[in-house]
């Protein structure tokens, strides 16, 4: 299963953190730091795979990829295939790109609720449920539409405005 998804910038600041098994806040920070340390030590032009058993216990693997200023990191165990996870990451980024048109770090920061929505459509409870980015985009758009609709009802009620 997938143990966690982390998006952080090249300074090590987390932009999106999602662990599929509960981790207390301090532990999360520690994990993020040790992951960042590993990522920094990786040269360019090397593989995207790292064995993460020293951080996450036996058999844990980590796949990372940089997109512009962001590191995307997936942590998972033997039941996933490294190369496929790399492509899953690609699916996520493609979806983000479709949703934000030319996604950048700030989109992730300001819309991290939406990024969570997207991620929830792709991975649920540590398992991959959807791998087609068009399907994900469709679902996410439907959600936003309905959210907005309900939102406009709020706005129309006096006293409920922002």
């Amino acid at each position: 299963m997938i143990r966690g998804v982390i998006i952080m910038n090249d300074k090590g600041k987390p932009r999106l953190v999602k662990f599929y098994e509960f981790q207390p806040v301090e532990k999360q920070q520690e994990l993020i730091r040790s992951i960042y340390k590993i990522l920094c030590s990786r040269a360019d032009n090397v593989s995207n795979f790292v064995k993460a058993d020293s951080i996450f216990g036996p058999d844990a693997r980590l796949v990372y990829k940089t997109f512009a200023t962001l590191y995307f990191v997936f942590i998972f165990d033997a039941s996933e295939n490294e190369l496929a996870v790399l492509d899953l990451m690609q699916v996520l980024v493609e979806t983000l790109d479709k949703c934000f048109s030319n996604v950048c770090e700030l989109d992730v920061v300001f819309n991290f609720k939406k990024v969570h929505t997207i991620l929830d459509e792709i991975i649920l409870g540590g398992q991959v449920i959807e791998t087609s980015s068009t399907e994900v985009v469709k679902a996410v758009e439907e959600i936003s539409k309905l959210e907005n609709k309900s939102n406009s009802i709020i706005s129309s009620i006096p006293g409920w405005q922002r």
Binding site: E82, F110, D120, L124, Q127, I154
Partner: protein, 964 residues
């Protein structure tokens, strides 16, 4: 420029406002981004937390504002600050009717809360309600929360609803319901065991997304219990076929590959289902072959599928055709420039060699390249591969490379792992004593404080046992002594290593007569001096001194205590550590007693002595009877007694040890106290019992009693300790068998353990961190393990490898042996029939220079060059040697072993894979091997090797010793 862009973007965002992004949030992020120090960031976040605290609890905040605050709170927590004060607001928000707010609430609680948080109880009700909602998005949000927040106790509250949702009209809901049910299964398999059939049903869902989702739980279920799902093989194959033939909607295509993720999952499932099952595997051959052909190797995802196919093939019952295709694919991976593909290629190769070890040969050069690669991940993967293919012919090269790498890295976790692997391989396959000792020295020097102490004890044991023949043992010991004398002066040696050195010097320092006692004792006291902070090392040093003096006394030579030793002893007599004190006093006591007694209490080389133990404690019968007649309490078995026993009549210092050791020794303590006068006669037995961390018992007996003359006839027969029916001291609560002979043999293993055991050592054991587990576990080797060892190493009786009788192999290697290592390791004993005592003069071994093994090179390149030269030299040497014939034999047996062990239930002639013998005995006689084509192949291969050419014909015979 980049900055300008960013600012422009921010402005755009700011003006846009987005949904829920207020100016304040923007400012917060901006100021955090601009913070120059961690402290400044901390201050900003603290201020934000204060603001949020006030606003969240303020009644004036609108719901919409609340939502924004909650998102800011999430952000703050992501940065590592405690946001628990706002959890309740997140919970409240889940109750809201508005979809946006509800979803935000659910998102917040799934990120904030653990599944056993107190607030969960407030959410369960909402979840129940939302699961029934007409709005499928509400249902989805609730299902998301279910996956994260429901635990074993709350599963029943939502289970029925989740199951109903499996048939929801929206596929998004069905998909998530499948996952929720899967999650329940993971958290508490028992609570959903009756619902598992639903996963099978969902496999036939109309929507490919739901079908794909159902593969996740099915994969897990199948991994847990393969046999239950064999009936699904046809369905899986069918689905895979449809996917490969592009029957799924176009939207599932990814980079021109049809639903690649579903294909990968299916291949994983097939690999599990077809493992070791010929009939099932045969159903899959066609489709797996087809998929391999269809893979687009230009794209990432195509290669991912290809890799999964290779993994699948190496797990299925071997099919020569597929194996060949897999080998081709591996070589494509390895030839790629992409590190990712090389990485997967190495990984795939290490899986493939399980069933076709010869495949590795074709890739010698590529593997060496990966070893030299700057990419650390790739290097580690390659070391894993090498570890799996180690055998006696290549162990030196591989382990030396591993050590070089180990020295070069800083990552302690990995250093530990690789160090223990080096030790494991060296113990298993080492061919020369010198090499073995030097290798262990290097491992200890560089990773001594990282490796398990068991490893050190194992080393002592191995040196004591001497691996078989006496000459060999003596040579090993004197070599160890020499190398330790050389190395012991170096600074910063790990404590564990120093302990080993002390022990070996004490035990064997003067054994070969090369060094005088005063030289060794001088060295030892120097060492104790240099490590005055390390009490354990000092304790070992003192005990070593005592042993050397004792041996001198016993040999009738005058003992001359060097002034520095004298002062050391004096210092220790006044030590704060009672353990050191006791050792020092004991040493003094030994110095003052006569030669005959010393010989009895500290016999030379006593680690080999057999002990006879009277498990029934029959020598106490008279005493017990007498006591009972006097009205004493009868013996209470260990299991029925608690602390009461200890109170009885023991000396005060008994107390500390009874708490410090984990095992129960009461059964042994019982006889000792009442009869101090007769106990001296038990000495030989008690000596050897000492390895068990049972301190004062032994020292009590032996020391005070030492002066009492030992009467040899009184001994074994009546004074034996009987262990029948008594809980064994070392190990799990099993009971020793009543037959005296088996007791003896078990104890013998124990007795061979280092004589660290010598009387005075015992006391420290409970205190020091050292454990004797290694020896303990050894005694407990279960029949299954022995069977495994037999099948792996050619049986207990065969003296394979010249080193370890398999039955006594270090336990570590036994539990680490899993299927995947089987092949590599099974290759070890193959040469046994040829020359049992010495490692076989393998063709390739001949080529290895003894120089390299004495001073293992640190420079990988140099070593490689050496290899190059050697392999060129090798062929002529082989051709002209008299040992040629045995070499051939060993090669044959080597080859026959190289095929994977399978349960060859079927016709042995059908293919090579089938041939693999099940037992070592079969393998030992290659002439009798059944498969015709195998035999032919072997002959051909041997011939080719003799010519000095690799069978593949592609590569020069460069790294034969590494990969042959």
């Amino acid at each position: 420029m980049e900055q300008l862009k960013t600012i422009g973007r921010e402005l755009a965002m700011g003006s846009q406002g987005g949904i829920g992004q207020s100016k304040e949030f923007l400012d917060l992020i901006k100021s955090i981004g601009e913070a120059r120090s961690k402290a400044e960031e901390e201050r900003i976040v603290k201020r934000e937390i204060e603001t949020l605290k006030g606003r969240l609890s303020s009644p004036n905040s609108t719901k919409y504002k609340l939502k924004e605050y909650l998102i800011r709170l999430l952000y703050v927590e992501m940065l590592g600050h405690d946001a628990s004060f706002g959890y309740i607001h997140a919970v409240k928000m889940t109750h809201d009717e508005n979809l946006l707010l509800k979803r935000t609430g659910y998102l917040a609680v799934t990120l904030f809360l653990n599944d056993d948080h107190d607030l969960i109880i407030l959410i369960v009700n909402t979840i129940q309600k939302d699961l029934k909602s007409d709005n499928f998005l509400v249902v989805c949000a609730a299902l998301n929360a279910v996956c994260k927040l429901i635990n074993e106790e709350t599963i029943p509250a939502v289970l029925t609803q989740v199951v109903e949702l499996l048939d929801h009209h929206k596929e998004a809901v069905r998909k998530k319901a499948v996952m929720a049910l899967h999650r329940f299964y993971q958290k508490s398999p028992g609570s959903v065991s009756h619902l598992i059939s639903n996963f099978r049903k969902k496999l036939c869902d109309n929507d490919p997304g739901v079908m794909g989702a159902s593969l996740c739980p099915l994969f897990e279920l199948i991994t847990n219990d393969v046999d239950m799902y064999k009936d699904l093989v046809a369905s899986f194959v069918n689905i895979l076929k449809q996917v490969a033939e592009r029957k799924l909607p176009k939207s599932y295509d990814y980079h021109q590959m049809p639903a690649p993720f579903i294909q990968i999952k299916l291949l994983k499932i097939l690999a599990v289902l077809g493992n070791n099952d010929k009939k099932t595997s045969e159903q899959m051959y066609t489709i797996v072959g087809d998929i391999m052909k269809k893979c687009d190797t230009a794209s990432n995802i195509g290669n991912a599928i290809l890799y999964e196919c290779i993994c699948c093939i190496s797990s299925l019952y071997p099919s020569p055709k597929l194996l060949e295709a897999a080998a081709d694919a591996v070589s494509k991976f390895l030839r790629c420039d992409s590190h990712n593909l090389k990485y997967l290629g190495i990984d795939a190769l290490s899986q493939l060699i399980k069933i076709g070890p010869e495949i590795a040969e074709q890739h010698q050069l590529a593997v060496i390249d990966c070893l030299e690669d700057p990419d650390d991940s790739l290097k580690r993967k390659t070391f894993e591969l090498l570890y799996k293919m180690t055998k006696s012919s290549n162990v030196e090269v591989i382990v030396d490379r591993m050590i070089d790498y180990m020295i070069s890295i800083n990552d302690n976790h990995y250093k530990t792992e690789i160090a223990s692997r080096c030790v494991e391989l060296a113990e298993q396959f080492a061919s020369s004593n010198q090499w073995f000792i030097l290798t262990m020295n290097k491992v200890f020097e560089h990773a001594g404080d990282l490796v398990n102490v068991k490893v050190a004890h194992n080393l002592m044991k191995l040196i004591a046992e001497g691996f078989g023949e006496d000459d060999d043992a003596a040579e090993l010991r004197s070599f160890a002594v020499e190398s330790y004398l050389r190395i012991m002066g170096e600074p910063k040696l790990p404590s564990v290593f120093l302990q080993v050195i002390c022990w070996v010097l004490g035990e064997y320092g003067t054994a070969d007569g090369k060094h005088s006692a005063s030289y060794i004792t001088g060295k030892l006291s120097d060492m104790a001096e240099a490590h005055s902070a390390d009490d354990t090392v000092r304790a070992y040093a003192v005990s070593a001194l005592m042993k050397i003096y004792a041996f001198e006394i016993a040999a009738g030579r005058p003992v001359e205590v060097l002034p520095e030793c004298q002062s050391l002893i004096g210092e220790m007599l006044a030590s704060h550590s009672t353990d050191l004190q006791q050792r020092a006093y004991e040493l003094q006591a030994v110095l003052s007693i006569n030669a005959h007694t010393v010989k009895e209490i500290l016999p030379m080389d006593s680690t080999h002595n057999e002990i006879e133990i009277d498990g029934n404690l029959s020598f106490l019968d008279g005493y017990v009877k007498k006591s009972l007649e006097k009205g004493a309490q009868p013996y209470i078995p260990a299991s029925e007694r608690s602390g009461a026993f200890n109170i009885s009549s023991f000396k005060p210092h008994e107390d500390h040890e009874s708490t410090s050791h984990g095992l129960r020794f009461e059964a042994y303590e019982l006889p000792k106290l009442p009869q101090p006068a007769t106990i001296p006669q038990v000495l030989p037995a008690s000596m050897d019992l000492i390895p068990v961390p049972e301190s004062s018992y032994v020292s009590d007996i032996s020391l005070p009693s030492a002066p009492v003359p030992y009467s040899s006839d009184a001994g074994p027969a009546e004074l034996k300790l009987r262990l029948d029916g008594v809980q064994k001291k070392w190990g799990r609560p099993t009971f020793s068998s009543p037959s005296p002979s088996t007791v003896n043999s078990e104890v013998k293993v124990q007795a061979e353990a280092p004589q660290l055991s010598s009387v005075s050592d015992s006391n420290s054991k409970s205190r020091s961190t050292m454990s004797y587990d290694s020896r303990k576990t050894q005694v407990e080797i279960s029949p299954e393990k022995q069977k495994l060892a037999a099948s792996l190493f050619g049986g207990v009786s065969s003296k394979s490898e010249g080193r370890h009788p398999s039955g006594q192999r270090p336990s570590k290697s036994q539990y680490q042996l899993s299927d995947k290592h089987r092949v590599a390791k099974a290759a070890a004993p193959d040469s046994a029939p040829v020359k049992p005592s010495k490692p076989p003069p393998d063709l390739l071994d001949l080529g290895e220079p003894s120089v390299a093994s004495v001073t293992p090179s640190f420079d990988p390149f140099k070593q490689l060059e050496g290899l190059l030269d050697l392999s060129h030299e090798a062929p002529p040497v082989n051709g002209s040697t008299a040992t040629q014939a045995p070499d051939f034999m060993s090669l044959f047996s080597d080859m026959s072993l190289s095929a994977p062990p399978t349960d060859s239930t079927s016709d042995p002639f059908s293919n090579m894979g089938v041939e693999n013998g099940k037992t070592a005995s079969q393998m030992e006689s290659p002439v009798s091997s059944k498969g015709l084509n195998l035999k032919e192949a072997l002959q051909k291969d041997a011939l080719v090797r003799q010519m000095g050419v690799t069978p593949s014909g592609q590569n020069p015979n460069l790294f034969m010793d590494l990969l042959g």
